[in-house]
Symmetry: C2
Subunit: 424 residues, 2 copies
């Protein structure tokens, strides 16, 4: 019989009443004969409550010893919710057992508060599944080689669920969340936005990294690496809808380009206005300038997103990139003080009132003209493009932030995203 | 340098403000050069909150699988408070690390919700102490041979602290609590009750088992078995009182009868009115009657305290014992239905309006007349004694509960407990 992993977020686990509903849903699947593994988050608000207490006591200097304790503290939230779910399942008459990350064990590196999973031992879980038990595994946490508790960082329960599904070679990993799937774009901006029945993991990866908040990006990377089919679906449907219906709902994130996949050129439109652009103008065009500029930025622990260098003219070039808006002032100061004099560049300019809009679609790989259609659409709306960056399945532009909604709506229409595509 | 274990109860850990005070106190000891291990309880109210959630979800039938999950759940309370204390110590500039029971590990049997400690590995803790760290170990919990989390039952943190002190051969285990020591009797009943500077662990064992709630009885048993000196002291003294003063405060529970020990005949008076007495009258005096009566009671999982059988007369005897008041009706019914007919006894009678008053003192071992002084004192007050039971260092009587305060006050005065005894 198929092995299924369910993941429930903090909202779904937010009260005993909701935990009881989760238990009823899981019990339904277990009674239908599926081998069930469940990965719950902490009850909503609990992680914030715990970290709030820590903050009141925090040492002035953040040190690894402090971060180790933060993980000890935060990990209790999922341990408690997992035990409660096991109890709720037992109350439904279903044999269930909960394991903390260290009990499975889920082995991670020692990067406290943002650890990465290295391996998962499936022996104990398989034995329980074979004995007919539902196995509950705490999300968000693991154990390092020294026996310390680690956590995976915010949203890490998605990654836990996918990693567990990969280790167990699960048939599908169902991520229950407060949205009912992945949309062509944010329905708050485009009311015609349509839920996708399926999306390739590469597209999902781009959508996630571009600011679509449905899934934590690392969980998508994990799913791609281990070829775990993920389904994102709503935890607000009644628990007793027929399994066949539930199993087809939401959005399937698949690693196979099978025949049933939607064959649209563009699957979705992502956008965000968290970024700011910075340009270093009149840079002498010689080897090493990218490193001299971005090395200094990276050393200051500032993350860079888009990077653009144009061809040079008269031995000089302009170098542009985007950073998070919160890092904008710090980055400009850094460049002016440390980089500009050494580099002999002319000026550093920037703008925080920008946004990035991206079209994403695996169809771009094999179809020319997708990017040019995007540019034409924006031009017809009178929107000036400030920067362009492309990858194999994505084209991103930076525009004035005041045009964001206009651009997203025009592109959504231009690529017919409001209409169900014909199967190939 | 001396190795000291501190234990702090839930009230002492009840808020970030209080945790900060605990950290300051521990830091004071660490800075004075002591090797420090700290065992905290969960923040007050937390264990009840968690078990309350479990109760809302609980299965109808209590099964080991359910109790396993209760332990997973409840153990999170101490893990969180321990991490918070480590953080508070780091904020004080003291290097600190917290370990859950399974990390030490503290190995227990698999009796979920009331596990017993089997062994404690001291390697990891010793390495940290050698490195100058304060080590915080979660109270109340351990790990069984299957890798499941277990808890020691209510008040188990006392036992954890003493067990850790025993495993590390600590010089002293300081139990910080909301009373400032062990008293000759309950000061709410006898205002002249006096704090004892020291008490032998055997006396403490009797006091604890007789209803003095200062320490969990199992922690006292542990202390006696491994000869760990325990000091009970107040967590409400200012954290910055001089260490020499703090180290002499409270009550020392010692396993040595050294010269400095108080040499009173009687150290304290314990009492409780939780019991009820039951008598089976006119029992044929032949082998096996005690087993026939108490075997049936034990099979019904009812705990028996005092047991008294008098010499027989005309081939018949009366058999009396006490049980918890909550078990009274059930026990009487059981005896009438199942035991009386088989035994051929005449009647089962009982009384719930009784109380037990006990004098406890290691001095009784070598001094005759202590018990008779007790009986005389009660007689002078016109108090009728219903049952008597004695052990090597204790004499207990059952009397009408309305005379309880009168009896305790009279005995306290008769044995000069309001006065500091002369050192031997």
């Amino acid at each position: 019989m198929a092995l299924i992993v369910h993941k429930y977020g903090g909202t779904s686990m937010g009260s005993t009443e909701r935990i009881r509903n989760v238990a009823k849903r899981v019990a339904k699947w277990a009674r239908a004969g599926y081998q069930m593994v469940v990965v719950p988050s902490a009850m909503s608000g609990e992680t914030n409550r715990l970290l709030g207490l820590a903050k009141e006591l925090a040492p002035a200097r953040v040190m690894p010893a402090y971060q180790r304790e933060l993980d000890m503290l935060a990990a209790t939230g999922e341990q408690a919710s997992s035990a409660l779910l096991a109890i709720a399942l037992q109350a439904e008459g279903v044999d269930a057992v909960s394991y903390a990350g260290w009990q499975v064990p889920i082995r991670t590196d020692s990067a406290f508060t943002k650890a990465r999973i290295e391996s998962i031992d499936d022996q104990r879980v398989r034995a329980d599944l074979a004995a007919g038990k539902v196995v509950i595994i705490t999300g968000f946490q693991g154990i390092d080689s020294e026996g310390n508790v680690t956590t995976l960082g915010r949203g890490g329960s998605d990654t836990s669920a996918v990693a567990v599904a990969a280790a167990l070679k699960a048939d599908e990993c169902l991520i229950y969340t407060d949205v009912d799937g992945v949309y062509t774009t944010d329905p708050r901006v485009v009311p015609e936005a349509r839920r996708l029945r399926s999306i390739s993991f590469e597209e999902m990866l781009e959508m996630a990294s571009l600011g679509s908040k449905v899934l934590q990006i690392r969980s998508v990377e994990f799913a791609g690496k281990y070829k775990v089919p993920i389904r994102v679906l709503s935890s607000f449907t009644p628990w007793d809808i027929p399994i066949e219906e539930e199993a087809r709902s939401g959005t399937l994130i698949t690693f196979e380009e099978d025949e049933n996949m939607e064959q649209a050129l563009v699957s979705g439109i992502a956008f965000n206005r968290d970024e700011a652009k910075i340009s270093v103008l009149g840079v002498p065009d010689k080897p090493g300038i990218a490193y001299q500029i971005l090395g200094a930025v990276a050393d200051a622990n500032i993350e860079v997103d888009m990077i653009i260098q144009n061809v040079s003219k008269d031995g000089k070039t302009d170098f542009s990139f985007t950073v998070h808006r919160n890092d904008y002032a710090r980055t400009v100061d850094l460049l002016k003080e440390k980089v500009l004099p050494k580099l002999g560049a002319e000026a550093v300019i920037g703008d925080t009132k920008i946004c990035k809009v991206s079209i994403v679609g695996i169809g771009m790989r094999s179809h020319v003209g997708v990017a040019s259609k995007m540019f034409r659409t924006l031009s017809e709306e009178g929107i000036n493009i400030q920067m362009i960056s492309t990858s194999e399945i994505k084209t991103s532009v930076v525009i004035d932030e005041k045009y964001m909604e206009l651009a997203v709506r025009a592109l959504h229409r231009a690529f017919d995203l409001d209409q169900e595509p014909a199967a190939a």
